[in-house]
């Protein structure tokens, strides 16, 4: 179990968290490679269906960030 790495689907707002994620890259800040980013125009676009679909498809976690 020790080498198991979770997959986390992240829905990031294009204007906020997605920008922060880019900036983290520019700053070469290191973080775990488990998130898979879906860029959404705004968290307003987020629908519970997306989170459920992600979990149904086997994602281990869902993170929505505005």
């Amino acid at each position: 179990m020790s080498d198991w790495e979770p997959k986390i689907v992240s829905f990031l707002c294009n204007w906020c968290s997605y920008g922060a994620a880019d900036l983290a890259g520019v700053g070469r800040m290191q973080y775990p490679p488990n998130i898979r980013v879906v860029r959404i125009p705004c968290t307003g676009r987020m629908s519970p269906k997306f989170a459920l679909a992600a979990l149904r498809e086997g994602a281990d976690g869902v993170w929505v960030s505005g």
Binding site: E5, G25, R36, F50
Partner: protein, 889 residues
């Protein structure tokens, strides 16, 4: 010899300058071609199938009629071979900083692998020597500071450690560390934390170690001990020089130069030369870094444009529009381009594996990898591939869509594809850069991101954009030097300006300043500028006015202004934020309890008022970095060193017998300001260095004002009694949250606005139509505020001059058939884009105004009937990305 790689490798006599050169064409090196030098060979002409070789090409003379000239001839890096004590010419492992840049570069001679020149050994110890060819009148004639070398040396040391791992020992030998740019001090602090050593010493000579390729250095450390150290490599941080041919050009054009051979300018007209109509930008105006050069270039464009504004658009040609290939109904044919970004991506992610993996995905017709996808030649190659392979969808796996999507979309348009048939996979900013130590999982993540992008792009449809008029008026927020200059430039180019100032006077912080570093009187020049602005009928000034609210978007902003409670609506196309900053009011060094302790601006006020008491002073001191470069305010305020020295010299002028002490941490008189520092030392001003953990102490002993400090040369505590103590206080940004909220622009940890790009976009925001200048961007002297004021105006005019803009295509659309007329979308939309249809078969159902819609998707998620669809971020497309993950989990 390969000039681009600083002579570190050989090149052939027929060559391409460098991989990203525009145009990407071969040329012949006339000094080394044996046909041109000796009349033999001529092989290339025989083998070239295109018949492109022409030995007869000569220099051509062109005559152009122009209304203004902008000079941007650049600089030459100082040649250290004449300084024989550094052994640069005789020892391969002594390199210049530019040569070291090539060694670190992915496209350099070692492909970014850190290896020294002589034996390709990986160095374990590298030393940087600062001020080679700068701040030196003994060994060369360059008395000025080259301004950028401290920062680039720190950067090179940090990157070298990034490449070679943390056990690489990097030592920087310096006189003063000058990290006076935005966020530079933080970078310096981080480098110290990462273990880069900073040694306060100017190295006298370099000796080769017999029998090895190593180099020996001797220096005296801060405790006064003589130390001998051996390094594998030495990097000389060489300074700027105006090359002789540029000096000749300046003489031919009859423009005045300074003693350092830089163009002479006024602080109030920083990009204009002594000759009318000739402007300058970049390092001919003095040694400077990229952001300042970019500011200058925009400012020069503004000045040059101002005198030509009547001729605008009289010689333009219309761009040819490539007709769009219809793709609807065709099966997707996807091209995937994976970018290496030099080693930025390829250094971590296995790009070839990602590329080959992409080839296995459904509908993928073509895969390729690029060294730099954004370079012009790659763009052209991509366009050719799109056309020849009949691709109808494109995925680029590279950096972030936030900066590069428009560039690639332009390539799609040029290839006849609708720009929305495109998706980027962010495998740099959100992958290789942040998972450096985990190449395997980073590669896996890159594959996942590519798969997600491919499955989304397959569902993308061509989208249309609506055209929108741009309101031709501008709003300038802040009536200081920067805002006044911006208003003046905009009006000078024919645009109406609303200038809003919070206080009851125009002028801002400049009202408090006596003289500029160049010795010009501020008040006279400021009054002249204010008069010009106030008398300009295109500029409407609103004093004691604040902005109550703002809505709208680029080209069509609306704000409510409040003047003494009276409200007024204005409409405008662009906004310039020039909200300034103010001086810190210190609570240390007895400032509040002793009236002999002043801030810099209070001393200026006494000079402005010709205070007769000043000449009676016997002893004065200045304390630098009061509130700057401290743990809770870790930036340098940039102007204070120069300003204190300037005021020290003014005091000396009043009373040459006065004892003056400047207590400092690093003296940061960058560029030609260095002359003031030299002059101050010559005139007997005493400089005493202190460190942040051993600050001077100010006490009042029986009414006498005493400063206790440890002298850095004597290494003994000294006591100084003064009649006047001036504190060089930090420059503080105001609370910018409100303005930031109005225009959705970011503010950094220090409270200053964050520009679009730290290097290439210093005078604009990421939000379209909003621009930035002056102290609101970062502390800066008057000449830089003026330049940035002009630059912001110039950037704003590039938008205004278009007169029309396109809205985005990724907007919401309602299928009226499914709409239940519930009205949720209408009440929820922050932009008032949805409304009820008032006539026709769908009366009472909702519709969306494509011009107002910003594509946020709020209505889509809220629609209980599922009638709304967000183009480009449709349910199908987002689900496709989620489903694409299934394979991974």
């Amino acid at each position: 010899m390969d000039v681009y790689n600083s002579g570190l490798v050989q090149r052939k006599a027929i060559y391409v300058e460098y991989a990203q050169a525009v145009p990407l064409k071969y040329c012949i090196d006339p000094e080394n071609c044996i046909y041109l030098t000796r009349g033999k060979c001529g092989n290339c002409a025989k083998v070239c199938p295109a018949g492109a070789i022409d030995y007869e090409q000569k220099e051509k003379e062109l005559t152009l009629n122009v209304g203004s000239i902008v000079l941007a001839p650049g600089f030459k890096s100082f040649d250290p071979s004449k300084l024989d004590f550094y052994n640069y010419a005789s020892h391969k492992n002594v390199v210049t900083a530019l040569e070291f840049e090539r060694i670190l570069s992915a496209s350099g001679p070692t492909m970014g692998h850190l290896a020294r020149v002589s034996d390709k050994k990986e160095p374990k110890k590298i030393a940087w020597f600062q001020c080679v060819g700068s701040r030196d009148v003994n060994k060369c004639d360059n008395a000025y500071c080259s301004s950028v070398c401290c920062m680039y040396a720190i950067k090179e040391a940090a990157i070298a450690k990034e490449h070679a791992g943390n056990d690489l020992d990097c030592a920087i030998f310096y006189m003063d560390i000058r990290t006076h740019g935005k966020d530079f001090e933080r970078y310096y602090d981080n480098a110290k934390d990462k273990g880069v050593r900073f040694v306060n010493s100017r190295i006298h000579s370099v000796l080769p170690v017999f029998g090895t390729d190593d180099l020996e250095v001797r220096y005296v450390d801060e405790a006064g001990k003589l130390i001998t150290e051996v390094f594998d490599m030495i990097v000389l941080s060489t300074g700027f020089e105006t090359p002789p041919e540029v000096v000749k050009l300046a003489n031919d054009l009859d423009i005045d130069l300074t003693v350092g051979n830089f163009a002479k300018t006024s602080a109030f007209d920083p990009v204009a030369t002594s000759r009318e109509g000739i402007y300058i930008c970049g390092s001919i105006a003095g040694p400077r870094d990229i952001p300042q050069s970019v500011v200058d270039s925009s400012a020069a464009a503004s000045d040059a444009g101002e005198i030509l504004s009547s001729a605008r658009n009289s010689l333009t040609t219309v761009k040819e529009v490539v007709p769009e290939t219809p793709v609807v109904g065709d099966p997707p044919k996807i091209g995937v381009f994976v970018c290496k970004c030099g080693i930025n991506i390829a250094g971590v992610v296995d790009v070839e594996a990602v590329r080959d993996y992409a080839a296995s995905l459904p509908y993928v017709e073509y895969v390729g990898d690029n060294l730099y996808s954004c370079s012009q030649d790659t763009q052209d190659a991509m366009a050719d591939i799109i056309k020849s392979k009949n691709l109808n969808r494109v995925v680029v796996a590279a950096c972030t869509p936030k900066t590069h999507e428009p560039l690639f979309q332009e390539t799609l348009i040029g290839s006849g594809l609708n720009k929305y048939l495109f998706e980027m996979a962010n495998i740099r900013n959100q992958d290789s850069w942040v998972h450096k130590n985990n190449p395997e999982l980073a590669t896996q993540k890159a594959m996942d991101l590519v798969r997600m992008a491919v499955s989304k792009v397959a569902l993308m449809e061509p989208l249309e954009e609506a055209e929108l008029e741009i309101n031709q008026e501008a709003l300038v927020i802040g009536g200081g030097i920067a805002g006044l200059t911006s208003s003046q430039s905009l009006a000078g180019q024919g645009y109406n300006v609303h200038l809003v100032e919070k206080s009851d006077v125009l002028g801002g912080q400049a009202l408090n300043i006596y003289k500029t570093a160049s010795g010009e009187y501020v008040q006279e020049n400021l009054t002249a500028l204010i008069n010009k602005v106030e008398s300009n009928e295109k500029i409407k000034v609103y004093l004691e006015t604040e902005i109550v609210s703002t809505d709208g978007f680029v080209g069509n902003f609306r704000s409510i202004l409040s003047t003494g409670g009276e409200e007024k609506n204005i409409e405008y196309g662009v906004s310039i934020v020039a909200t300034g900053a103010s001086a810190l009011e210190p609570d240390e060094y007895n400032y509040k309890s002793d009236e002999r302790v002043l801030t810099s601006l209070e001393l200026d006020r006494r000079f402005i008022n010709n205070d007769p008491e000043l000449s009676k002073i016997n002893s004065a001191a200045f304390i630098q970095c009061v509130g700057s470069r401290e743990p809770d305010r870790p930036y340098c305020s940039r102007v204070c060193c120069t300003h204190s020295i300037e005021n020290a010299l003014e005091l000396k002028k009043l009373n040459p017998e006065m004892n003056i002490y400047i207590l400092y941490r690093d003296i940061r008189t960058f560029g030609e300001r260095e002359y003031l520092y030299k002059q101050a030392r010559q005139e007997g001003v005493i400089f005493i260095k202190y460190s942040v953990d051993n600050k001077p102490e100010v006490i009042n002993r029986d009414g006498r004002l005493i400063i206790n400090i440890v002298d850095h040369v004597l290494r003994l505590p000294v006591e100084i009694e003064v009649d006047l103590l001036t504190l060089a206080t930090a420059i503080l940004p105001p609370n910018n949250k409100k303005i930031a909220g109005f225009y959705k622009v970011p503010v950094n940890d220090d409270g200053m606005f964050v520009e679009k790009h730290a290097k290439l976009g210093p005078s604009e925001f990421a939000t379209d139509g909003v621009f930035l200048c002056g102290l609101a961007h970062y502390p800066k002297p008057i000449e830089e505020s003026v330049a940035q004021g002009k630059a912001a105006a110039s950037r704003a005019i590039t938008l205004l001059a278009k007169k029309k803009t396109n809205t985005i295509g990724t907007i919401a659309k309602i299928f009226s058939m499914n709409c239940s007329s519930c009205g949720v979308c209408i009440s929820i939309c922050p932009y008032s884009a949805p409304s009820y249809i008032e006539e026709g078969p769908f009366t009472g159902k909702a519709q969306i105004n494509p011009v107002l819609c910003k594509g946020c998707g709020l209505c889509v998620a809220s629609c209980r009937s599922g009638a709304i669809n967000l183009k480009g971020f449709d349910n199908d497309q987002i689900f496709a990305q989620i489903y694409a993950l299934k394979e991974a989990v």
